[in-house]
């Protein structure tokens, strides 16, 4: 049934899009601006992007960011998936409580998690010589940040799967490993992929947790941008920010696409 839309609905939509995307659009547009300073449009150029390729600090930060995101996503995906599997297939005391506790890292402000992790790493350093802040601590921190997101997404997917399918596999002669390998894992896979891509973008964009848990030499793109901005905003920063934006957006769209496809199948 079609209902008449109020003209206010259209206005609200426009306002939402302006609020959400105008700042991003500005960054994107100015990354192609010839002018080095100011807010005047002086012509189109891709020069700032080319200059990034010569900027050793930016390249090192980009490499760090990707390495961090890939490593932490890999570990967080394994742990988060195992967690989701355990929580949906087994009963244990305190399961409900644990279910709620799992959501806490999703809701608490990043800054609280960041400070907590920093304190924790400082404590570990007291007992473990050679445990310095740097890539390792940042990776561990990101894994902590990502696990709940992956577990929640995979669990939602498993809740939609009929547990009787695993019984059917056993009935057809598949032992526990073969059942997992040929039935459970393929059914979980859309959730695993969606969850890990989500976690990947979280890591890619993260500033607060990285800033608190990093050490000398381990600079990521968001940290690099932050420190550059203190010395004045340049179009190079715009270019860098635009690249991060494009990668994140592409990942999110992939997630949406994968989800859409599995919805249709069922």
């Amino acid at each position: 049934m079609k209902t008449r839309r109020s003209p206010l609905t259209g206005l609200a939509a426009v306002l939402v899009f302006v609020f959400l995307y105008a700042p991003l659009a500005v960054v994107l547009v100015f990354s192609f601006n010839v002018a080095r300073h100011g807010t005047m449009w002086e012509g189109f150029t891709v020069d700032w992007y080319l200059r990034l390729l010569d900027n050793q600090a930016a390249l090192a930060a980009a490499f760090n960011t990707l390495q961090l995101a890939c490593t932490s996503t890999l570990f967080a995906t394994c742990l988060g998936t195992a967690l989701a599997y355990g929580m949906s297939r087994y009963e244990f005391p305190g399961k409900r409580l644990f279910h709620h506790v799992l959501h806490i890292p999703v809701f608490i402000p990043d800054i609280v998690l960041a400070v907590a992790l920093l304190l924790f790493f400082a404590l570990v350093r007291k007992f473990l010589a050679g445990f310095e802040l740097g890539m390792t601590t940042m990776t561990l921190a990101h894994i902590t940040l990502q696990i709940p997101f992956i577990a929640i997404v995979v669990r939602a997917r498993m809740a939609d799967c009929d547990p009787q399918l695993e019984e059917a596999a056993a009935d057809l002669g598949a032992g526990p490993w073969l059942t997992f390998r040929h039935v459970t894992l393929p059914l979980m896979m859309p959730g695993i992929v969606a969850g890990s891509l989500l976690a990947f973008t979280l890591s890619l964009d993260d500033f607060v947790v990285s800033f608190f848990t990093t050490g000398p030499g381990a600079t990521t793109l968001p940290i690099l941008i932050y420190s550059s901005v203190k010395r004045g905003i340049t179009p190079e920063i715009h270019a860098l920010a635009s690249l991060i934006l494009v990668v994140s957006a592409a990942t999110v769209v992939t997630v949406a696409f994968l989800r859409g496809r599995t919805e249709v199948k069922r």
């Binding site: 019984e167 009935d171 040929h182 069922r266």
Partner: protein, 391 residues
């Protein structure tokens, strides 16, 4: 492409198929009296609920066996225990003569057709069917050959490349059946396999399933709450209630000689009443009942029940005649309370004394009795048409 939905007879399949069929034809392992499933005193509790209260049961090789009962009677629990998907609290289970309780589901020589089919949504029809053989690591040529022949047998070859979400209910049921049969199980377990299908399709599939079972000679253990389905398909039926087997027998035995009022009322419709024994001569009893004085003839097997003075008696509605009957029948005078036709039969409620009797008569093309409500009618019941209940 669609699979013909009409009933097709298995014996018109080409001979070539029967020769290469890995599924053995019936002659080699037809019912030979040996036992393929033996249950002894199985019990199972879920918290306070007693799902099985000591079930002992033997299933013969090659028979079509049904577990029949209302929901919650324990029939599905018993099936899951045989499959290895659940374990009893106490009791013993043998499959093919060997103890089976220590075997996990995936090592037992049984396969199940699940109630909701439980087809793997990420696999095609042929991959679903090949699953069991792949798990056993058979050579891929054998897998293809056996998968293809079982798909021919169940008439789903044109569906091979489809995914479960592209199938109708009846097609899913065939795929689930094929997926189980391809493994050539010693016992095929069917958990309400027609539960999700409409009535017409159900009738067709009942017939097909029965013919398939006869042809292959595989032992079928079938769980259902539908008494028509159990009677139509089975060699033997175990009627279950509250975790126990209340009666086990052939469909005819259960219908003609129910032992308890539960079985009598669960299987078919019946008129139950009580009577006092007046005199007994051999198999012929004379009783005083609310319907009047009745002569009852019992088979020798249930004669010991007539030792009691108080008898619980029953008679099926279609064993009461309204057309005059035979000499020697019991004759009762009643008044028609209501009369209606279901198409094939006329159903009448007739008051005899204070008792309301249900009477049905087949419409054989001669409406001999054009009766109306309020008419008086003479009912006749042959002495051999009564049954005696134990409870």
């Amino acid at each position: 492409m669609t699979v013909p939905s009409s009933t097709t007879f298995w014996f018109i399949l080409p001979c070539r198929f029967t020769k290469t069929n890995p599924l053995q034809p019936a002659e080699t392992n037809a019912a030979d009296g040996s036992l393929v499933v033996e249950c002894q005193q199985l019990t199972r509790r879920f918290g306070q609920f007693e799902a099985l209260a000591g079930v002992s049961l033997n299933i013969r090789r090659g028979e079509f066996f049904s577990l029949l009962g209302p929901s919650g009677c324990g029939k599905t629990t018993l099936l899951r225990i045989i499959a290895g998907l659940d374990l009893p609290d106490t009791g013993e289970l043998r499959i093919g003569g060997l103890p089976a309780l220590h075997l996990p589901a995936w090592k037992r020589p049984v396969n199940t057709v699940f109630q909701n089919y439980a087809l793997f949504p990420h696999l095609s029809v042929s991959e679903n069917i090949a699953f069991g053989l792949r798990m056993k690591r058979l050579p891929s040529a054998d897998i293809v050959r056996r998968t293809t022949s079982v798909m021919e047998l169940t008439q789903i070859l044109p569906l091979a490349g489809r995914h479960p979400h592209e199938l109708s209910g009846g097609q899913k049921q065939r795929v689930a059946l094929a997926r189980a049969l391809v493994n050539e199980p010693a016992v095929l377990l069917l958990d309400e396999p027609m539960g999700a299908l409409d009535a017409k399709l159900r009738k067709e599939l009942q017939l097909e399933l029965r013919q398939l079972q006869r042809r292959l000679g595989i032992t079928f253990v079938h769980v259902t709450h539908d008494q028509d389905e159990a009677l139509a398909m089975s060699d033997r039926v175990a009627v279950m209630n509250a975790g126990r087997i209340v009666q086990l027998g052939t469909p005819d035995e259960l219908y003609d000689r129910p032992k308890t009022s539960f079985v009598a009322e669960f299987i078919g419709v019946c008129n139950l009443f009580e009577g006092n024994l007046i005199r007994r001569t051999k198999q012929l009893l004379e009783t005083e009942t609310p319907l009047g004085r009745l002569r009852i003839e019992l088979p020798a097997t249930t004669i010991e029940l007539s030792e009691r003075s108080r008898l619980r008696l029953g008679v099926r509605p279609e064993r009461i005649a309204m057309d005059g009957g035979q000499p020697g029948d019991n004759r009762l005078l009643g008044i028609v309370q209501s009369i209606s036709s279901s198409g094939p039969e006329t159903i009448a409620q007739v008051r005899v004394g204070d008792t309301l009797l249900r009477v049905t008569e087949l419409n054989m093309g001669r409406r001999s009795v054009a009766l109306h409500a309020g008419d008086s009618v003479e009912l006749t019941i042959s002495p051999g048409n009564f049954f005696l209940l134990e409870d």
